[in-house]
């Protein structure tokens, strides 16, 4: 077992005339909370979609837990151990919260159609295990009481939590969250933060894309900053915060004083 969970380097992605990513790479150590930040349109979500297989990169090398993987098929990436959430929540809206999490167990279970039709003992046992584990995960993210609610009826913050529970159900080596705090109010953000800290304490590595600089700075062990598809800084949050290129990307030139004061 290596101590690097995800090692990605040399990623290029071009959309027509737009170079969305040029030579981007990150290395995430086990147990870290890793932040990926940058202004709007910097290529964060594109990068995210590349490593999770939703977009095919023009070039790049990818290794998860020391094993190279090729992000060409989304379901294989999930199988390999990267679970993700979406910037615009993508739950299965008409299924219950519990069923949503149970779908997450799909990739780690093996019951076949024949097993289901014959209701073999193995299938039934597996089904019970799926349900028990899913309820545990709902409890873990704090929405156990909504297990039988339709996903679309949950409050916004709870939908975010449900998406995280569903991702955790796939037993990921890396949990990749695309702007989990988007649209949350201050209280919800605080609750989200303690959830992410709890997940991290349980030795699950997290990759976090976030707009909310305060959240990222407080939570992450390491941060990469993207701007116009290029990495402009990488390091611990405190260091990155003082980086001149970062300040310029966020605030434009000539604001160095303001930023140093804030830090």
């Amino acid at each position: 077992m290596s101590d690097t969970v995800l090692k990605v380097s040399g990623v290029n992605k071009r959309f027509g005339g737009l170079q969305a990513l040029s030579d981007v790479g990150i290395e995430i150590a086990r147990g870290e909370i890793y932040g990926l930040i940058g202004p709007n349109g910097a290529g964060k979500t594109t990068f995210f979609n590349v490593i999770t297989g939703l977009y095919t990169p023009d070039s790049g090398s990818f290794a998860l837990d020391g094993k190279p993987y090729s992000p060409t098929e989304v379901h294989r990436v999930a199988q390999a151990g990267i679970a993700r959430t979406f910037q615009n929540i993508r739950l299965f809206p008409d299924m219950t919260a519990l069923e949503n999490v149970m779908v997450g167990r799909h990739v780690r279970t093996r019951a076949t159609a024949l097993g289901a039709i014959l209701r073999t003992r193995r299938t039934m046992e597996e089904e019970r295990a799926i349900k028990a584990r899913s309820l545990e995960l709902l409890e873990y993210v704090g929405i156990r009481k909504y297990a039988d609610y339709q996903a679309r009826t949950l409050a916004y913050g709870d939908q975010r939590r449900l998406e995280i529970a569903r991702a955790l159900a796939t037993e990921p080596k890396l949990l990749a969250l695309d702007e989990p705090a988007a649209g949350m109010n201050a209280t919800e953000k605080l609750a989200l933060r303690s959830l992410l800290e709890a997940i991290s304490r349980d030795r699950i590595t997290i990759l976090l894309i976030e707009h909310d600089v305060k959240l990222v700075m407080g939570l992450c062990d390491k941060v990469t900053v993207l701007d116009y598809g290029k990495m402009i800084a990488m390091g611990p949050p405190a260091e990155v915060q003082r980086n001149a290129a970062v300040i310029e990307a966020y605030l434009g030139g000539g604001h160095k004083d303001v930023a140093t004061k804030a830090a």
Binding site: T52, L54, V74, H75, A78, Q79, A83, R84, F86, R90, L91, F92, P93, D94, M95, T96, A97, E99, M102, V103, G104, R105, H106, V107, T109, A111, T112, A113, G115, A116, I117, R119, T123, E126, E127, I130, D148, Y149, Q150, T153, R166, A167, T170
Partner: protein
């Protein structure tokens, strides 16, 4: 069956009593209908075949959310497979087959059912593979084309080599028999006389019940959840590690097996098949059954299939006498009226019960649903 009767499931005796009552009704039904004439029992048997078809299509459309307008093709595949394997047609066309089977081609039901299911499943994959990336309207158009292609093939495959006998169809198809007991003849059991149609009805009923159990179990399984997930959000399903390709192909092939078995039974029951029975219209009627009954809800689908398949029979026996009684002569033909009423029923259903006559009960808890029903 417990899953079908959730409200009674606390009380085991009540469940068993209910099941026993339903069983008795289903067993006695052909005799009750038989009093009106054997045509009615025949309609009952056909209703069972349509329930099979509707359940199969429901796997594809209702569970996995893949609109299929060519479903009847699998029915055709099953029907022609049985027709070719159990009629003199092949032996009379190909001398080498006649030599291999001097007694003629006859196959037992134990061979025919798995074979029909298997062949249809193969065709299901054949259809499914090229349409994996299509959704909605595009998928509907391709599947519609597939259904027509199969029918046109059957219509034209009498030259250069006469395989399907073209538009004339295949005749003299063996009836189904269990050992020496042929379902084509009236049989006596325990002093009760069972006409042929009754026997077929019982066979089809058994197949239908098996199909219902299979569907219920699939729905409540890991696979059923994967289908539902794909229906709701394909990208999220992929991101959860579901192999969308395999799961969709499984839906197409499992759905097709029901069609194949139903087709084989149809062929044996009729003793005759021709491409005319497998038109686009039939695909649409089967689709109408599941939409009218309640897409994705097994009891609803069964109800829809029974209603729409019995409906023409009812019309046939009422329209003419009623018109003669009212006007003294026949104004509208029953067949014309049937299509009109189908259309009307569809419009009314879409307006007042868009989720079908017997839709799935509100899935899980929905705090908003109470106000929603009040508004409606």
């Amino acid at each position: 069956m417990g899953a079908l009767l959730p409200r009674l499931s606390q009380n085991r005796t009540a469940v068993w009593l209910a099941i026993a009552a339903v069983a008795v009704v289903l067993l006695v039904l052909p005799f009750a209908f038989g009093l009106l004439g054997n045509a009615w029992v025949r309609a009952l048997a056909f209703a069972c075949l349509y329930v099979l078809l509707a359940l199969g299509l429901n796997i594809v459309v209702g569970f996995a959310g893949l609109l299929d307008l060519g479903y009847i093709a699998f029915y055709a595949v099953g029907a022609y497979m049985y027709a070719l394997l159990a009629s003199p047609h092949l032996s009379s066309t190909f001398p080498w087959i006649a030599q291999m089977f001097p007694g003629g081609l006859h196959n037992s039901i134990w061979v025919v059912i798995p074979l029909g299911a298997g062949l249809a499943a193969m065709f299901g994959i054949l259809l499914g593979a090229p349409v994996l990336k299509l959704r909605g309207d595009y998928l509907a158009i391709v599947t519609l084309g597939f259904g027509e292609i199969i029918r046109i093939f059957l219509n034209n495959l009498n030259a250069p080599v006469n395989v399907t006998n073209g538009p004339q169809g295949i005749t003299l198809i063996d009836p189904i028999s269990f050992g020496s007991v042929s379902l084509a003849k009236t049989q006596q059991f325990l002093g009760i006389t069972f006409p042929s149609v009754h026997l077929y009805y019982y066979l089809f009923l058994v197949l239908t019940l098996i199909a219902i159990v299979i569907c219920v179990r699939l729905q409540d399984s890991r696979l059923g959840r994967a289908w539902m997930a794909i229906r709701e959000d394909e990208i999220a399903a992929k991101a959860m590690g579901i192999n969308v390709r395999n799961v969709k192909l499984l839906a197409f092939s499992l759905g097709a097996t029901f069609g194949g078995v139903s087709g084989a039974m149809f062929s044996a029951f009729q003793g005759f098949v021709s491409p005319e029975s497998f038109t686009l219209n039939e695909s649409i009627i089967v689709l109408a059954m599941i939409v009218l009954g309640g897409l994705g809800h097994i009891p609803g689908v069964v109800l829809g299939a029974i209603l729409l398949s019995m409906f023409p029979e009812v019309l046939r026996h009422t329209v003419v006498p009623v018109q003669i009684f009212l006007f003294g002569h026949v104004v509208i033909d029953a067949e014309v009226l049937r299509m009109m009423l189908y259309g009307l029923a569809m419009v009314i259903i879409m307006l007042y019960r868009p989720k079908g006559l017997w839709p799935a009960p509100e899935h899980g808890v929905n705090p908003a649903s109470r106000t929603a029903t009040q508004r409606a």
